[in-house]
């Protein structure tokens, strides 16, 4: 369960860019999974893929609910994110630079439209293959590829507008 909670939390966090919201949504995911375990059919791909599907659906629901009262730049975005323990091995200035960069990338991510955002998060941050993403998003493979492509391009353009040059 810890393995799944880590993955689910990361998907939620990368999508919403906010720790508190990511926690709430992660809890919702597990609750939903626990309640609907009976309806899980293994023919629909692996268990992990099913969990990702549930996560994605809840993220979209959350996005639609909060779209009206969302602030583009929330306080949480500016706060330093607690990264992996491995980051402790790096030099502090290197780490600070990386944190800043990843914080900016995170911020840019939340500015993408949800369809593009979820595609990029699943592909580039969760390293899912096209077939899995197709199952999670329930769209044809061509659509998956084009969303990922457009998402990356848009993200690069947003970062450029923010004045960030990824190294």
């Amino acid at each position: 369960m810890r393995r799944h909670s880590r993955r689910i939390f990361n998907v939620c966090y990368r999508f919403v860019g906010n720790r508190t919201e990511a926690e709430d949504i992660s809890q919702e995911v597990f609750l939903r999974v626990y309640r609907t375990l009976g309806s899980y059919r293994s023919a629909h791909g692996g268990f992990a893929t099913w969990m990702t599907s549930v996560t994605r659906n809840l993220l979209i629901d959350h996005y639609r609910r909060t779209k009206r009262d969302r602030q583009t730049d929330s306080l949480d975005d500016a706060m330093p994110v607690v990264e992996n323990k491995e980051s402790a091995a790096r030099r502090p200035d290197q780490q600070a630079l990386l944190n800043e960069l990843s914080g900016q990338v995170q911020s840019a991510l939340t500015r993408l439209s949800p369809e593009l955002r979820e595609a990029v998060v699943l592909r580039d941050l969760q390293q899912l293959d096209y077939a899995e993403i197709q199952q999670v998003l329930e769209v044809p493979e061509g659509t998956v590829k084009s969303r990922i492509n457009r998402g990356r391009i848009e993200l690069a353009k947003i970062l450029q507008q923010m004045g960030v040059r990824p190294s």
């Binding site: 990843s102 990356r152 690069a156 990824p166």
Partner: protein
């Protein structure tokens, strides 16, 4: 055929992931490396992907797992004091524990009896290695002797039984031999050669039986008087 900027944008990901065939790749590079808009875009997307792939997983807040468990399985009951102690004791009533205790007791009993320590009058001397060795040695030899005796008894019984069976066979054989037969000559010789000893014994037994039969009535009459 030279590609347009739109085409470059559309194929950007496929190019970066190495999915383009050689001719397409060549056409892509021919445009992208020279176009003033496509070249920077390609560079930015490439470095962005590197950045995304190296972004580490964020740490899960520690209370998340517990709050998930609380919401799904329900909060854990916390007991204290007497209740905790009783629950601890209840752990001893499990079958696993009972079997464990029983097997340990059985082992102890076997070891104690083998080592010859008397349970009624235990002596410290019994624990001395020399005594322990002697006791074990004695018991081993006793057990061995008992087993040997058992098997040799079995053998004796078996031999007696086989002798009796033999004699019974001979008794049956003897009447058959005395009855008139016309066996071929060859077989006759074999018979006389193979069975002289048995024939003699059978004759002897038959003679004894006849004598008993003859004396029988006289004994019978005598007992009446």
């Amino acid at each position: 055929m030279t590609w347009t900027c739109d085409q470059i944008e559309a194929q950007l990901s496929d190019y970066l992931e190495g999915l383009l065939q050689a001719p397409e790749r060549a056409a892509f590079e021919a445009h992208a490396n020279t176009c003033s808009e496509c070249a920077p875009l390609l560079a930015e997307v490439r470095s962005l992907m590197t950045e995304l792939h190296s972004m580490e997983q964020v740490e899960v807040p520690p209370q998340l797992v517990y709050s998930i468990l609380n919401k799904t399985l329900g909060p854990r009951e916390t007991v204290s004091g007497w209740q905790a102690f009783r629950k601890f004791l209840a752990g001893f009533a499990t079958p696993k524990f009972t079997y464990g205790v029983a097997s340990v007791m059985a082992t102890l009993i076997i070891v104690l009896s083998a080592s010859g320590i008397s349970l009624r009058k235990p002596k410290v001397a019994d624990l001395h290695p020399v005594n322990v060795y002697r006791n074990i040695d004695r018991r081993f030899h006793l057990a061995k002797a008992g087993t040997v005796k058992y098997f040799s008894d079995l053998r004796v019984v078996y031999e007696i039984q086989s002798r009796l069976r033999q004699d019974q066979n001979e008794l049956q054989v003897a009447p058959e031999e005395n009855a008139p037969k016309t066996p071929p000559e060859k077989q006759n010789d074999d018979h006389t050669r193979v069975q002289p000893k048995q024939q003699n014994r059978a004759n002897e037994l038959a003679h004894q039986v006849e004598m008993l039969a003859a004396e029988g009535p006289m004994v019978f009459e005598r007992s009446f008087r």
